[in-house]
Point group: C2
Chain length 106, copies 2
DNA sequence: TGATTATTTGGCGTAATATGCAAATAGGTT
DNA sequence: AACCTATTTGCATATTACGCCAAATAATCA
């Protein structure tokens, strides 16, 4: 594979990698319904604030979410709505898995 | 977060995690255009056959691709077409990043 | 300025992932 | 059976990701 093509796939993988974590998936899901600040998200998730902050910075770095500072708080929100399509597709994959498994039992 | 909800997000993240690698992204892209056997894919990628075989098993395990043995060869193909939507969305994210960066220069 | 609150970053231990080589497995052929 | 070919798996190693604590940074307010 040519290095140019390879770099392109690496860039794409980087975006997907940002979504490839249960907490970050939850964050995107939650932020798609409206903006939230870090401490509120941390409370929902149940992890340390620093951990959630790192997850958010990964998502922001990948270009999936944006932030806006208001006072001492930073409010995050989803920047690219199409990532929500991931969810329905992934549900489809999981559903297909279930079906296949139940077929195998017959 | 309740353990039930958490497990759900873990399952979803697992599917996305399977796509979160440049080589595996390439494999899905290539397989979406038609089935291929392992050694052919390994030649395209330029990695060891065993490495590619492992990547394929991860994708298969996630429910994204299927395999079919014919003779000594195993042919893989995409099982859930909607994963291809990932690509266009990811392109969108990368394009938005570029635009933002060029805006910042003005 | 000093105190308070929210967020980010450094450091560190631990866990997961990636990759190639060599060996094992499986199907086909002679 | 022995042999060849394609694929998978065991193992060792290197790299990367996680998550918390503590410290640093930033904005606000008394």
């Amino acid at each position: 594979m040519e290095p140019q093509v390879k770099r392109r796939y690496e860039a794409k993988a980087n975006v997907i990698k940002a979504m490839a974590h249960p907490t970050r998936l939850f964050l995107v899901d939650e932020l798609s319904r409206g903006e939230h600040c870090v401490m509120d998200l941390a409370a929902m998730v149940g992890d340390d604030v620093s951990t959630v902050s790192r997850h958010l910075s990964i998502l922001k770095n990948a270009g999936i979410i944006t932030d806006e500072q208001r006072g001492t708080q930073v409010f995050y929100s989803v920047r690219v709505p199409c990532v929500l399509n991931f969810f329905s597709c992934v549900e489809g994959v999981l559903a297909a898995d279930l079906e296949e498994r139940s077929c195998a039992l017959r």
